[in-house]
């Protein structure tokens, strides 16, 4: 039994507490994998999500397709809706499975254990993001492929590399925003739940999920400056339907890609700062363990 209790004995607690940079990075990377594990495992152990997270959202996207069909919209608009429907998967993942996740963890009693452990809490959030990405991607691909086939959407892509790059940049910026929201929601408690609700349809609207964002005028410009979903979706539409008569008024995909890079950097740095500040505030106010706040 004694060998089970001993692991890499160190001469003193000071030696054990003194980690190299390599050890710190390795722990954070392991944490990402570790935290993604329950998400990914859960997909295979309870499969009802296939119906509720893939089939039903496909039907919801189809509703907007038929709205355009009802008014005899040009075919590229069907493509806009399908692409928007695919990207909703990632936005919902960010707000449901990341933004309020730390608040969920507090309810479950896991938050204390996370903060009492030596890894960076951002790694935990990265792990959640990666784990959720698997489900979201499945949903996005299902919507994209099935809806495109069913509704005759044809893509015209000239710059594949840029399109894929913009997609991943959009995700990076989205997940960065998710981390910022997670730290804010850590403090807001019950408001987090309602604010998550608040962020669904209004963000769809200002992000131009089902229509070209240029139609929103100044509001659209503000959204492009602030919301990863808005700018990413607009760039992907311009790239995926290169031959469409796309309304002018938004930046080119290249500029929007740069905007996404800036957003990613800003959100990740902001997340790092807010997590640190808000952790200290949470420790000061005792909010890491009060469950029903």
């Amino acid at each position: 039994m004694s060998s089970a209790f001993v692991y890499r004995p160190t001469a003193s607690p000071q030696e054990a507490a003194n980690w190299s940079r390599r050890q710190i990075i390795a722990t954070d990377l392991r944490t990402i994998v570790g935290r993604a594990y329950p998400r990914v495992t859960g997909l295979f152990r309870e499969k009802s999500w296939v119906f509720f997270e893939v089939l039903l959202p496909f039907l919801a996207t189809s509703a907007f397709v038929f709205v355009y069909r009802a008014v005899q919209a040009p075919p590229e608009y069907i493509g806009f809706v399908v692409l928007g429907g695919a990207m909703t998967a990632f936005w919902l993942n960010v707000i449901w499975m990341m933004a309020q996740q730390l608040w969920w963890e507090k309810s479950q009693g896991n938050l204390e254990l996370y903060f009492a452990a030596p890894m960076n809490i951002m790694s935990v959030l990265f792990g959640m993001a990666f784990g959720g990405f698997v489900m979201s991607s499945t949903r996005a691909v299902a919507v994209l492929v099935v809806a495109s086939a069913l509704y005759g959407v044809s893509f015209a892509v000239d710059q594949w590399f840029l399109l894929i790059g913009v997609f991943f940049l959009t995700l990076a910026a989205l997940y960065g925003l998710g981390m910022v929201l997670a730290s804010l929601f850590l403090m807001w408690g019950r408001e987090a739940w309602h604010l998550t609700q608040f962020l669904v349809e209004p963000v769809y609207f200002v992000s131009g999920l089902n229509f070209p964002i240029a139609r929103l005028g100044i509001l659209g410009s503000v959204a492009i400056a602030l919301l990863p979903l808005a700018v990413g979706l607009d760039a992907m539409r311009q790239l995926a339907f290169a031959d469409a008569a796309y309304p002018l008024g938004t930046p080119s995909p290249e500029i929007e890609a740069l905007i996404l890079v800036a957003m990613t950097v800003v959100f990740l740095l902001l997340a790092r700062w807010t997590l640190r500040v808000l952790e200290r505030l949470a420790r000061k106010e005792g909010r890491l363990s009060i469950r029903w706040q």
Partner: protein, 320 residues
């Protein structure tokens, strides 16, 4: 009269009480149901409304349905340039009413998940003398009330700012009352069904009610006439109580507006021989589909309840 000859008072207050009072196990029937429902509704409202200040609560309650309506309005304006006001009115009314549907479907389901995962109270509620379904219904009513508020305000914004034509003098109040009564029952019934699903599912089930509402959105004629859909989907839509409810509210509030069920080339027109349903047809279809939905939901809930007891799901916490 005192001592041994004194009449024995029932219940705990009796000075001669010294054993089990059987009358406590009988309950009070309808009075207990009313009280359980009222208590649960009050609790639901407190939980729904006390998390923030009233202004923010108001914004939160209205933003969602209003944003949904605006998405559709802009979609239409993008194509038609505002040239088809009747379409705009159609989508605003439909998306406003859909706020009701969303609130009803999600309300009960989220009550189950909240009580099980967050507050860990589900098992205590379950073993209380109150009927579990009655308590859930009470809890769900609060969210329906919030949904109603959002729907009304969206309709008001639609009338005032988005060009929805409304003449209070032409409202068919009796039809509206009957349609709302049956329709809300159907909405709550589907909410019961979703609650039954959520009892069996894990924490990620939070998104299931919205996903279900999104799917029903496709076939309910909320934002486009059913005639646009392929025939098989139109049939499914006609078998859904929400379709008839939305149609009924449209006909009651906005007489003469575009029909979601009928129209030239619609399956309904093919079967009924005329373009739009009469009031009688509408009410009959709503009652029939609503009854089926309600019965099916109750059966599903009881089956889920049994399975949950069998598998010990009522006090589990999941989460990933």
């Amino acid at each position: 009269m005192s001592g041994i000859d004194a009449p024995i008072e029932p219940g705990l207050g009796s000075p001669t009480w010294g054993g089990f009072d059987h009358s406590r196990t009988r309950g009070r029937g309808a009075a207990d149901i009313r009280r359980s429902f009222a208590t649960a509704a009050r609790l639901g409202w407190l939980m729904e409304a006390n998390w923030t200040d009233p202004i923010l609560f108001f914004i939160y309650s209205v933003a969602k349905p209003l944003a949904s309506a605006l998405i559709l309005v802009v979609m239409l304006d993008v194509i038609s340039g505002g040239a088809k006001p009747e379409f705009r009115a159609f989508v605003v009314i439909g998306s406003a009413l859909w706020a009701f549907v969303m609130a009803g479907i999600a309300g009960l389901a989220w009550s189950v998940l909240e009580d099980r995962e967050r507050y860990r109270m589900l098992k205590y509620v379950y073993v209380s003398p109150s009927d579990f379904l009655v308590v859930l219904l009470g809890r769900g009513v609060a969210r329906v009330a919030v949904g109603a508020m959002g729907a009304l305000i969206t309709l008001a914004v639609g009338v005032v700012a988005l060009g929805v034509p409304f003449d209070p003098g032409t409202v068919n109040w009796p039809l509206l009352v009957v349609v709302m009564a049956i329709g809300l029952t159907s909405i709550v019934a589907v909410g019961v069904f979703m609650a039954a699903v959520c009892i069996q599912s894990r924490q990620e089930a939070w998104s299931y009610p919205e996903a279900a509402a999104g799917a029903l959105f496709l076939i309910s004629g909320a934002v486009f006439p059913l005639a646009v859909l392929p025939a098989p989907l139109q049939v499914i839509g006609l078998l859904t109580p929400f379709t008839w409810w939305i149609e009924g509210v449209r006909q009651a509030l906005f007489a003469g507006s575009l029909s979601s069920v009928g129209g030239d080339g619609s399956f309904f027109a093919l079967v009924a021989g005329h373009a739009t349903p009469t009031t009688l047809e509408l009410l009959a279809a709503l009652l029939a589909t609503g009854t089926v939905a309600t019965l099916a939901s109750i059966v599903a809930f009881r089956a889920s309840d049994r399975r949950a007891k069998d598998r010990g799901l009522l006090d589990q916490t999941t989460g990933s």
